[in-house]
């Protein structure tokens, strides 16, 4: 390649260093991903004994077969998709209007409301009181228990509010008002269309949160057919951990046998399950990434 200007020696060294540095960084990030992928199609024995460290060894598809034939995993998958879609839509429906209202300087009592909302970020009600509220609302063991109590996140409201404050010029709103636009119409027609980055970011924040959450389902759900994927996953993985823990203790033969067969299945399918459950998020991320960078930055830079 011929370049117009000859690179100086220093530039070359700098360039080489940069490439080396980036390659190392890439390796560090890529290795766990490749490891998980390889492990998911290697025999558990090779993985556990450390013989499999990069490329698959003793390739077996038994793990994936078990995953794809396990109705619980698919049911969990379906539930997770429902929780993520419905939950995220509700989150957006709550967060964006709240954030916009709080961003308007002509909103009466804005500081007061903001202080109240922020308070809940620093002092939460605690596990048992929250459980009692959910219970008295009749939400225990319903899908709503996973969606409604998590409808708004204060942190995300603050981020969105900052975006609205800095990205939507006040003059634009005044102009719209002069043209006879109502507040609601202003929000729908002007503010939201200009806020694509923040909507994408919020959707991603909330969506990933729903996708990965298991604790609320552990607390609020009693029936297995409502469990999200992470809960099913946890059941598989933790039982395997437990088998090492409890087979030391005085337990019945029945339990030991159960644990052992559970542990065998688990070591076979755990990496497969990890791949299957994280793939959708990894697949969506590149498409949202450009908004992601833009959206988060917007909150911090004021122009």
């Amino acid at each position: 390649m011929i370049t117009a200007i000859q690179e100086s020696k220093g530039d070359k060294v700098f360039l080489i260093c940069t490439y080396i540095y980036l390659s190392v960084a890439l390796l560090i990030v890529l290795y766990p991903l490749i490891y998980i992928l390889s492990a998911s199609i290697s025999s558990p024995q090779a993985v556990n004994s450390g013989q499999m460290w990069l490329f698959p060894k003793d390739v077996t598809w038994a793990g994936y077969e078990l995953v794809f034939n396990n109705p619980k995993i698919w049911n969990g998958y379906l539930n997770t998709i429902i929780y993520t879609l419905v939950g995220t839509l509700l989150n957006l429906a709550v967060t964006l209007p709240a954030a916009y209202a709080l961003s308007r300087s002509d909103f009466f009592g804005r500081g007061w409301f903001m202080a109240f909302i922020l308070l809940t970020m620093f002092f939460s009600g605690g596990l048992v009181p929250t459980y009692l509220v959910v219970k008295n609302l009749g939400l225990i063991d319903t899908m709503g228990a996973l969606i409604l109590p998590a409808a708004a996140s204060v942190w995300n409201i603050v981020v969105a509010r900052t975006f609205f404050q800095s990205a939507i010029p006040k003059e634009l709103q005044e102009a719209a008002h002069i043209d006879g636009c109502t507040n609601l119409k202003l929000f729908w027609r002007i503010v939201l269309p200009l806020s694509a980055p923040i909507i994408a970011v919020m959707a991603l924040f909330y969506g990933v949160g729903h996708w990965n959450s298991y604790f609320p389902s552990l607390i609020y759900l009693n029936s297995e057919d409502k469990y999200p994927l992470q809960m099913v996953l946890r059941q598989i993985l933790v039982l395997q951990e437990m088998s090492a823990e409890t087979t030391g203790a005085a337990i019945s033969g029945d339990i030991a046998q159960a644990m052992n067969s559970k542990a065998e299945t688990a070591s076979l399918i755990k990496y497969g399950v990890i791949v299957v459950s994280t793939l959708p998020i990894i697949a969506v991320y590149p498409f949202l990434q450009r908004y992601f960078v833009q959206g988060v930055m917007v909150g911090s830079v004021k122009g």
Partner: protein, 534 residues
């Protein structure tokens, strides 16, 4: 992104509506208005008109409890059915605490593993109702069991004289911990036909495993003895057996033959155990990864045929392959300090398996229901499933059965786990030899024989009975133990790996006593004396 406002509106409204709908499903919490029902004192059905109660139980995540044949059959038979509030087994304790804290009680707890302190605390608060009156009136099978084994009654009666929970009674399971197993191929390769009987002979075996390449692959990759460490304890899977060589029954609290309670970490025998382990460590006989590896990693070594001696439920679970009688069970060894090895045996009683709460409108019917599980027929149903699925009678009179082919092929244990809840959880029931009569295979019988000749015939006994501490005693023990056990665990690892020379022993004991080791011993002694006298 081009957002059409109409589409967005629709989406938002739709989302909101869906979430509201989802929220409405659960508002029909049936407030049980307790009508009077007559509970028949024997036979089925238990009640004439069907009743429904709520049951909280841990779930191993294989089958929905509503779909379990055994529970369906039991409901049909008894007219008592349950709404199941399951929580996954691994997080059951979190959920249990939440239920108690929020006063959202189920009618009964099943296989809940209520600890003695929970039983006492919630019993005294009146959340769990006393059961002894109900047992006399409505539990003929369980009462017969108590009369036959007075120790069971002693172990389940709280210090205030009430019984708050029913136990798992399992006298046919003798192991206190998983046994250790020798690698049969190694024994053969080394020409050993008599298992080690003393710690020195054991040392020689381990040494030979390391040096003489018994797996014959030309590499010195043999690991004479391997173990795992969990958050609860160091090398727990092997130490119970090695401690026995120095006259110690259990790793924390045990009672000797003259009714004196001992706190193991300050015992002389424990010091000798540490010295022995340190020797194994320094000579490279104890797997250097014993303090860091997971159970899986240990199993992988077993499958590579590297291990000479290891602990597991059965040897084949570590070595892989089919059950085989080629790998003999570890014969407890003794050191020069004692005449015979101390061997711990399972006490056979696990308390806290079943309890009835104060919100239960039909405690009598609940008691009759659970009592059936302590009869031969009930225990059989809940253990093996109904007749005609996995087994059938060959001779009903003497209870001999034979196994049937598994429907749809596959593993019979796996199939069994879809029939009955009693799979992998401490369920209230009694195990008796008659249940498995005729169903045992050669391997089961071989394991039984090994257990008998190596453990039971050599004087195995329970190290400490199942007993209650009072609420004050329990809280004192808990606070002492939280410091003690961490320190003991750290120091044990240091002594074994040589990071702390054994000459530091006296200072270590002094520190333990300062931290309240004496007090732990005293409290347990007092509780033991109470148990003995009751």
């Amino acid at each position: 992104m081009n957002i059409r406002s109409k589409a967005w509106k629709l989406l938002m409204v739709g989302g909101l509506g869906a979430s509201l709908l989802a929220g409405c499903g659960g508002s029909d919490e049936a407030a049980n208005s307790a009508e009077k029902v007559t509970v028949s004192k024997e036979g089925f059905p238990i009640v004439e008109t069907p009743i429904k109660l709520t049951m909280m139980a841990p779930d191993v995540g294989i089958q929905n409890w509503e779909d379990m044949v055994v529970l369906q059959e039991m409901a049909k038979k008894s007219n008592v059915s349950f709404e199941y509030k399951n929580a996954p087994k691994e997080s059951f304790d979190t959920k249990k605490n939440l239920v108690f804290a929020s006063e959202d009680y189920p009618d009964v707890f099943y296989a809940a593993g209520l600890t003695p302190s929970e039983q006492l605390k919630y019993g005294e608060q009146g959340v769990l109702i006393p059961l002894e009156g109900l047992i006399d009136e409505y539990a003929p099978n369980f009462k017969a069991l108590l009369d036959e084994y007075p120790d069971v009654r002693k172990s389940i009666t709280a210090p205030d004289g009430h019984i708050y929970s029913l136990p798992v009674v399992e006298f046919s399971q003798h192991w206190y911990r998983n046994p250790m197993w020798y690698n049969g191929e190694f024994l053969e390769a080394l020409g050993i036909d008599k298992l080690p009987e003393t710690t020195e002979e054991l040392y020689d075996y381990l040494k030979r495993v390391k040096e003489e390449d018994p797996n014959g692959n030309g590499k010195a990759d043999e690991i004479p003895i391997s173990s795992v460490t969990t958050s609860a304890a160091n090398v727990r899977d092997i130490r119970t057996w090695l401690l026995g060589a120095f006259g110690i029954y259990e790793e924390e609290i045990y009672v000797d033959d003259s009714d004196v309670v001992h706190y193991t970490p300050v015992e002389e025998g424990y010091k000798q155990y540490l010295e022995y382990m340190n020797r194994l460590w320094t000579d490279g006989l104890l797997d250097p990864e014993s303090f860091s590896q997971t159970g899986e990693q240990k199993k992988a070594k077993g499958q590579n045929n590297q291990l000479g001696l290891f602990s597991d439920w059965h040897a084949y679970m570590t070595k892989g392959g089919e059950p085989s009688d080629k790998d003999p069970m570890f014969l407890p060894v003794r050191s020069e300090y004692v005449d015979k090895a101390a061997i711990a045996k399972n006490r056979g009683i696990t308390t806290g398996a079943f309890a009835i709460t104060k919100t239960n409108p039909y405690p009598e019917a609940s008691m009759r229901w659970v009592d059936y599980l302590y009869s031969y027929e009930g225990a059989l149903l809940f253990n093996k499933g109904p007749e005609g699925t996995l087994w059938e009678y060959e001779n009903e009179a003497d209870r001999t059965k034979k196994a049937l082919p598994v429907p749809g092929g596959g593993d019979s244990e796996e199939y069994r786990s879809t029939l009955t809840p009693n799979y992998g959880i401490p369920a209230p029931t009694v195990s008796m030899d008659d249940i498995t009569k005729g169903l045992k295979n050669d391997f089961d019988l071989w394991v039984e024989k090994e257990t008998k000749t190596k453990l039971l015939d050599n004087g195995a006994r329970a190290p400490f009975p199942a007993l209650f501490l009072t609420v004050e005693e329990q809280s004192e023990i808990n606070s002492l133990n939280s410091d003690l056990s961490t320190y003991v665990k750290q120091m044990e690892a240091k002594f074994i790996t040589g990071a702390e020379p054994i000459s530091g022993w006296d200072a270590y004991v002094e520190t333990l006593n300062k931290m309240g080791a004496n007090r732990v011993k005293e409290i347990n002694q007092a509780a033991y004396d109470r148990w003995k006298a009751s």
